[in-house]
Symmetry: C2
Subunit: 428 residues, 2 copies
Amino acid sequence: MDIEIICTGDEVLTGKIVNANFSYITQKLEDYGLPVSRGATVGDDRGELMRAFLEAGSRAEFVIVNGGLGPTVDDLSQEMAAKAAGVELELREEWVERMRRHFARRGRTMTDNNKKQAMLPVGAEILDNPIGTACGFAVAIGKARFFFTPGVPREMYRMLEEQIIPRILERTGSQGVIVLKRFHSYGIGESHADAMLKGLEDLAPDGSLKLGFRAHYPQLETKLTVRAASEAEARAMLAPAEARVRERIGNFVLCEDEQTLEGVIQQMMVRQQATLTVVEDFTGGQIAARLTGQEGAEQFFDRGAVCLTRHQKQQLFGLDRALVEQGNGLPLAATLAEKARKVGGSTHGLAVLVSLEPASDTGTQNGTVFIALATSKGTVTREARLAGIRNWVRLGAIEMGLDSVRRHLQGLPLEERTDFEQTRSVAR
Amino acid sequence: MDIEIICTGDEVLTGKIVNANFSYITQKLEDYGLPVSRGATVGDDRGELMRAFLEAGSRAEFVIVNGGLGPTVDDLSQEMAAKAAGVELELREEWVERMRRHFARRGRTMTDNNKKQAMLPVGAEILDNPIGTACGFAVAIGKARFFFTPGVPREMYRMLEEQIIPRILERTGSQGVIVLKRFHSYGIGESHADAMLKGLEDLAPDGSLKLGFRAHYPQLETKLTVRAASEAEARAMLAPAEARVRERIGNFVLCEDEQTLEGVIQQMMVRQQATLTVVEDFTGGQIAARLTGQEGAEQFFDRGAVCLTRHQKQQLFGLDRALVEQGNGLPLAATLAEKARKVGGSTHGLAVLVSLEPASDTGTQNGTVFIALATSKGTVTREARLAGIRNWVRLGAIEMGLDSVRRHLQGLPLEERTDFEQTRSVAR
């Protein structure tokens, strides 16, 4: 089966916006076992659109077109779809009515130029857009079935999931459902995770279970996809595979599916009536920013402090000058975590300190991160030497700092060697 | 002139990575007055690559191919370039030698699979890659000149700028040079800036001056491009246009060209031997994180504090309870800024507080930001009601907080109405 994607719009073609819609669509299709063979990007230009539609229509079985369904003169998708399909445009009253209700609900009146959005090629099948005025539609061009989608990301997401993928699966005779399970981990590289999960696909010998990865440093996403006759059957097939993932890389799993690491920390802390005060240096407020980004963060996040210099660290809690003069290390991190806990009136105090090494001539700049987490039961610590460029060390220290809180709340050891660490003896 | 871009690689085609290289290339070409007519994305597949090369070669004058020059078996660009051009591959000893030196400088030995990177179509012109082992090259396929570039972004950036764009400009007979001037502003929307700069292109009546915009909320980039016989002539033509931009939107300009807002603040503070302590609530550490992200931040950034609740704000500096109980406002912001300055031992104290309103049923969640900047000469404040969704209010508050520091250091008024504000009477 050949599926192609055509993204339209001068904004995308000229690079004014990065085309994240393309990677969203192709990835989502991959998740359903529908590989894309080719993508094209064309501007708001009648000739280029026509050529792109006819070429894709001569090659592919399915084509997804994104963008160009708006009310303005440079939105040309319906017009060129009709031309390429060799039919006229017609006004679809049912969509005019939909738009009228859409505007009425928001206390606004529909303007005449919106009617353009209800002009579809004769015979087109409407693809519902429950959250916008752009009308999706499907039409045949050449030997391909074309699906036209809005450029607004959240409208496209729903149309793809609810309208288009089911139609493609039905037309390709794919039986049943596909269920996707995702694990987000920190500390294991993609090839290492692949090796640790070797043989996992054999848990479903008929090839209906697929294992995939998506690395976005410092996190790795491990994806399991199963195809089955029903959702219940799919879940049953997934169960042993999920158990295997948890058994092999479980300690490194931060969260699953739509969850985030900071969301999991918030959830656990609120449940345990725990609260947190954070002290950080080189990470510069990013640990606090991650933890405070979600609604309800004030329920567990007490206070954050950022200090870059020894002097400021000493002043912050009136520390013993001799301790601070030793520089960053586990003793200073532990003291800061304990003081933070006390001063913030929190159940937990976290300190994350980084000592950067001088940059090498290849641009790498390793750093050592010192983490301490203080509670009423004592203080646990972790030290690791992170390799990479300056910003990678920063990202790694943020993630490891947050992950230490997750590990502690889940009763796991803080110290567990990651793939991003170097031992000191390997150092230049 | 027709220019096409072909991005290759399964990682891009399957959406494992977002294709930011495409938007970089097309935008850079636009800056030089070289519009791209079409983009294609194909995987690591011989058949698809061949088809894409032949099709583009039959249509375009220039084609830029990105990716597929690596040492592994799925890197197919040289092989398919040779096939499409109808020539053999040959080993280019000069590039083998380059790679050998590259590895030697890093104390490593070149492995045999790297030799694949020196196999180019017979007759290909080498495009230098001074910072990597992937060898760029140019070759004719059909009626088009093809330029093959590495997928590693920074290697591609340099090759595009230093090797490819000059060749395209030369072959298109474009005389002279193109110079680009960029202004980064906060507070003016794209259409408003466009209206304020109306007539600017007429400063060069021969059409050699172009005005463009790129909005990435909350910042707007205003771009001036001139084409002239020499760099000196281009600069002379730019001068009155730059003066016009500064005259019309100057107060809103954060920085120019490669500068960042936080970089400008750091530069000014270090020069004035000024130092800063920051207190923030809803922005959650993001203001501190922006200010501490660059090398040398410890020269001016003293301390950051994040407090979400009234209780924590009261405790932080032992404030008067009655003041805190009034909630966020300019009085509390001013007091926090003054205390921050004192406690951090800084010349400047900044407080940025946000009061969020309940979310509306359309998902918007406006918020009011209260900013205070304290110095030895007194305290200045700014209040603004920002419209949008939760995260937009957060981004706007961060930017306005940082911009208030920039404005004060530059002797500008803090209060100047932006396009992102709502007055209270317009509410809902």
